[in-house]
Symmetry: D2
Subunit: 465 residues, 4 copies
């Protein structure tokens, strides 16, 4: 919802339970709202009927009480969607997708991005398939439907053999919910239990909101089947180097989540501490760009022994419509997001900690705002290395040429954003902050992609309204 | 929108033109609103982009001015939908359906009903297809996509070879609009021109509202291609006995339309005249059940020389929500539709002409209302024979057991509805009223279906919300 | 909703009953929808709470089932509103208006127009009143609230003493519904009973839809109080010459209503017969401009012995949004309303009967449409005299200069609209068609206003959104 | 939007400018959203027309871009509304209210609560006034309208003479915007300038979002007139003891605002420091109940030298519909608001700082949540004294009996909420934290009301929908 340039594209949740699980899915999606704010959907099955409701906007606006009452099921899956830059989300791309196929009903919710989506789609089109959405999920559904294997788990296995890239997904029929995480494990997927039910969700915070017990994360290459008999797990794809998305730690996941075996908050604090060591500076106060950089800023303050202050207040009442002043407006975009606290900033030497710089535009506006408010010095600290390459694994990134670090050296960026100094972390720092340093994908920093990447310059386009 | 029991399921329109054709499609759909009031959609292509908007409700509510502005194209197709009894229309079943396939974009709008839909669907599912709607149109799209023929018209030809039943449809890609009418010609399809553009529409009234010139009807078995070079016609399927739907003449089509080579109004007047000859009665006044029986009632009055009067006034302000008093309501359903005019009815011997009797419920309420208003005698005259069989060709009919004539003899019906006398037309009368008597399907009266009919009792069910 | 130029501004209904009367009010408003299509409201009281719901649009769209459930009361009043030309209806002007005053709750629904509204409003403003709407109803509420009389009927009496012009209104507190009709009786108001309840409504058709018994019309100058004890009637203002609105007979009221002691349908048929005598012509067929001129056209056909035909078919699916092609549209406005039936018109000499000509624009388009369809001759017959003066009693009329007859002689109008002949009725004909010829206001034809009329050229303006 | 029990009821803003000021008012309301989330309105005047748009919900949802375009004016006022507990906000109570009166148009937006509202209203009703809303603003409008003074400022002066209680308000006609703050100054009101325009707003954060210059606060008893000639200030009511609302400092105002001559953030930090001195405890970590207690928690951490951590993460995606699990829900209400961060809490001795305890319910749930997460000890610290009395000056408070401190001693509360220790501030602490300790109203803590308070137990009720 902002012009930061990096956006997670999805959050997913599945509950196989008893009673009516709609409210559980609803609150879990609410907790995962940060992973996608432009659309959401829920599919449930109650033993006889499969029902679906999908809509555009925030979870709480899509699923009113009466709409939640109309859905009713003891098993179900849900999805939050973020649409790619510059395109309004279309209702028909909102997931889960639900179809009829030879095996009955089939629903899917998918987080990640297939790197061979376009190729698969063309191949299937050549073989006579039709596509009604532009989602990777529809590709997976086609693959499942075309499989001649006798059971849904086996069909899904055949499907995942064909795809490359990032894929944490949930597939549901009238009997089972199947969770699958690709063998590199780009995107997270957690397993929990609550009142005798099993829950799969992108992040552990979705379990916490329900008061559910966090069991463990789904392993890369693991397929897990929830049905009336309980949980069935199987390692179906192994032997690949893990490629956990580092940006889940840096920015996407909620700090109260556990992702890739780490407390996100703890990783961010450590990144802040490393940043203080890597780029110390003599200053009066440390502030965060709220809320995503709060943990890192606290870590910086902690390590540097410069006091942490709430120097920027964030506007939170977003509503359905994102507020972004247009070009013609006399109002400054950065002020609509953040308001500086004069007493904290005036006459002070400020360390401002942000989690990343993508295009540099927001950073530049922010520094200008801090200076206007009276900051004597502004030292910009970034709790990640410079982003220099697009992501092909489920993050919406601008093209390479828009990434400021691909066009400017660090000193030039410092001068462009108007800071007194600028410091990034190194990839070594990133690795030092996590328990499994070799298991992460750092391609957006290093350009070393763990898979082959799409040849064609343009992303898949299916531009109907 | 009423409980008459017989409902047309669709109206379609296509325009290949210049400038922006959205308004032309919009007004044409408005004129065809009687063929489907529960949903509508328009797909347009403007040379670079294909856009679609679909919604639930009336055409004028779905396509607001701003939404019409957002659509923009020099070629396009549109569709009005009626949902089958007892089921709310789902947005995902609203047509046209638009997909991506190997040939690019493909959109379809369909009027009619395939008698082998279920079988085709199962066969395709077994071959690995997935279905996102319950419409026959999606089946046709799959067939087109699976064809290996090099051009869209040839692919469509292969597709129509596989289907049986009623099919007047429009298919569009980025270059062409193709109109096709099945070789029996169950449903109408007209061709017109306007300001150098070509238009295809279910009924000629859709041409009239645009001030377009009516050229001719598409022949049964004819495929007509509209593209930048003009019109290309080809008789692709011939040699079948024609099976024009008689109910288009009796009830569905608008009286101002020309359908199957006839003026609908003229046919209905003639039916009224034949009815007067078949079932004369000594009475003071002839009234219609407005508006669909007006022409027949005028014909009856004309032939019988009994004066025609507007004895029932119809409420017309329907809005989005159809007004039908619930069971608990203290208000009589028939009064919400019709109000009797006392001066005309009181103390009089009334001939009331209606176009059909399906379940008998409305007729019974109507006779009671006329009597309460003071009618001395009520002679019920029906400008069609008794309906005894369900339709499989695009009309929503109740099950056979709900059709009153399948359970009661005419005298019993007369007594059930409380009339002093009751007279139906015969099938001979129907044939006498039209120019091509052998070209009509009379299966709902006679049970002689022109095609094999589905074996299974239940219709296709795909009951997700 | 059309550009005819003459619009009734309101329909009102009140029910003092038992059980829940919301549905009764709802259906009555539905039957009165022709008197106002742009907004509606209902106020009900259930012994403890007074509830109100008002909205813009059609009755059936404003009062959904859930909204009707939320309202609940054993007494209540309702209102349909038509907004004046060129102005969107504002929600705050939708009636009934409900306020708190010294006597508790007070609600009002008003049909008519006060000729001294502006003067009263200014006087009250000078005395310190504030106005939140532009309705006459708010003026009446202020007058009631300022009265020092001890009971609501007496307060209302003081209020009506101050006002001049047309006023059929319903006022409600927590105990009583009071109906009042001004001593000239410009607007109708009927009394009915149903299942032990009493009902007041603008026209008898609102009683009919409920199956209620029509008791009688409220007399001019009569105040009628409905409360727990029954009905209390009192002639409170007498001795004024009656001024029934002739246009209720000609156009506004529904043909199935009884208004001013007449069957509207019977009056219209007689007007048609008189028109045939006044302006006979040698022709092949008589057609109506549907639906308002149907009765008159039947009368003309009857008297002239020229056959009546349904030569124009009217589009009825209006929905929330009125369909009127804009200036830029390639579609002809008159075709969106009416479609000609070729078989009836082609090569024929047509008598077309309309109820009135206001600006002449629609008539001109209509004649052109008939000629394009092939009519050999078009003889235009109007079942009223020429309108030459604006109405100040509750009808929305264009300014005098826009009335075609105020600028042109009859022959010029005939030439302007392109007819072969044109014939109006005379005021004598009007009087001959009704039982109480001296009791009617014919000011729009004659300019002889029964009251003093507002001096100022401009209507009351309060132009906030 | 929560069950904290204390809610500010309004935010107001006015701009007298040039060009179109709608966007300025819009963003200012957005910045003041925390003062009222249930409805908002804007009235603007552009030299010829006065336009208004009001709606229910969040500012960003009510004022879409197209609706902002439809409003257009070079002067205007806006209002955010919070509805009192247990009542849905009604659209008709949303401000600003706009009326016609003898002086032309008159609009008002009001923050505060009149303690003699009921009495004034009854007096005016006895004198013949009608009321269409339940707002205090309508009372002020009546008083202005009844004044015989020649100018709007003088009329407003007469009006404010009659009222008692809290009143920061903006009144607008076609020429002027008048800001007034009652002589006790309960509610804040700030003055700013931007690009040659003058702006009045409840808090300085509304100036900041525009990049406007903060000039000063309006003085208690000051009337300030903005018109084409600039600013005109006059002290119209003096000599009263100031009664600034202490809760503006503690909870309502945004920390980045300047209110009553203080930086809200600085006051809160000082309250936190005082709290650490008043109730020190041996603990491992200080956490805030985000976001309102962040500043105080930082102060506590600072003074106590116990590290501050983000131990609770707040859900921010509220949308139109507030998410609060119902009774039947299996989901815990407090978890929907806050998620605990395990690493920070587990095995630790926690100081949790909250700004107030009203009913105690949320605190109890929170302590339970912290314990479940593994907190070893939970020390609850409140950065204000115990609330024991309702507010009559513009805050929505529960009845006295619902205030936990009015029923329990501190030790009992500690035990009720399940904390290991509980510490409140004293009123002396409050006074020590601000620059003008004698100028504050502490009635909710002390029961010493600065004005007479309403005799009647029940608040004003006007319960129509």
């Amino acid at each position: 919802m902002e012009d930061r340039g990096f956006h997670e594209e999805c959050g997913i949740v599945g509950v196989f339970g008893h009673g009516n699980v709609v409210d559980l899915i609803y609150y879990a999606l609410y907790a995962l709202q940060h992973r996608g704010q432009e659309g959401a959907g829920i599919v449930v099955h109650n033993g006889t009927k499969t029902r679906v409701h999908r809509g555009l906007g925030l979870v709480s606006d899509i699923f009113t009480e009466s709409q939640r009452r109309a859905l009713n099921g003891r098993m179900g899956i849900g999805h939050n969607r973020y649409a790619t830059t510059g395109k309004a989300t279309k209702l028909r791309n909102v997931q889960p997708i639900l179809v009829d196929y030879k095996g009955g009903k089939l629903a899917i919710a998918h987080n990640g991005n297939l790197t061979n989506a376009k190729e698969l789609r063309r191949r299937m089109e050549r073989a006579g398939s039709i596509f009604q959405t532009t989602t990777d999920s529809e590709i997976v559904l086609h693959l499942v439907a075309r499989s001649k294997a006798p059971t849904l788990p086996e069909r899904l296995l055949e499907a995942v053999d064909a795809v490359e890239g990032a894929m944490s997904c949930l597939v549901m029929n009238e009997k089972q919910i199947i969770g699958y995480r690709d063998p590199r494990g780009f995107r997270p997927l957690a397993l929990g239990s609550y009142d005798g039910m099993h829950i799969l969700a992108s992040e552990s915070c979705a379990l916490d909101i329900l008061g559910a017990h966090f069991i463990r994360e789904i392993e890369p290459g693991e397929m897990i089947v929830l049905d009336a008999d309980g949980i069935h797990s199987r390692m179906v794809r192994t032997g690949r180097q893990h490629s956990f998305c580092m940006f889940e730690q840096i920015y996407f996941s909620r700090p109260d989540s556990h992702v890739f075996g780490e407390s996100v908050n703890a990783v961010r604090r450590e990144l802040g501490r490393l940043l203080a060591r890597r780029h110390p500076v003599d200053a009066d106060v440390v502030i965060a760009v709220p809320d995503s950089s709060n943990s890192a800023a606290l870590g910086y303050a902690d390590e540097s022994e410069i006091p942490f202050e709430l120097g920027l207040i964030r506007n939170h009442y977003v509503g359905r419509t994102f507020i972004r002043p247009g070009q013609r407006s006399r109002v400054d975009a950065v002020r609509v997001k953040f308001n500086p606290v004069v007493e904290i900033l005036e006459g002070r030497r400020i360390v401002v900690v942000d989690d990343s710089i993508v295009r540099g535009t927001t950073s530049r506006q922010l520094v200008r705002l801090l200076r206007k408010t009276g900051a004597k010095e502004v030292h910009f600290r970034v709790s990640s290395p410079a982003i220099q390459n697009p992501c092909y694994y489920g993050i919406d990134t601008p093209r390479k040429v828009e990434l400021i670090r691909s066009r400017m050296r660090v000193e030039e960026i410092c001068s462009y954003i108007g800071a007194d100094s600028l410091g990034y972390l190194t990839t070594e720092d990133l690795r030092a902050a996590v328990k499994a340093p070799q298991s992460y994908c750092l391609a957006c920093f290093t350009g070393e992609y763990p898979t082959s990447i799409p040849q064609e310059a343009d992303p898949l386009v299916f531009d109907v309204d």
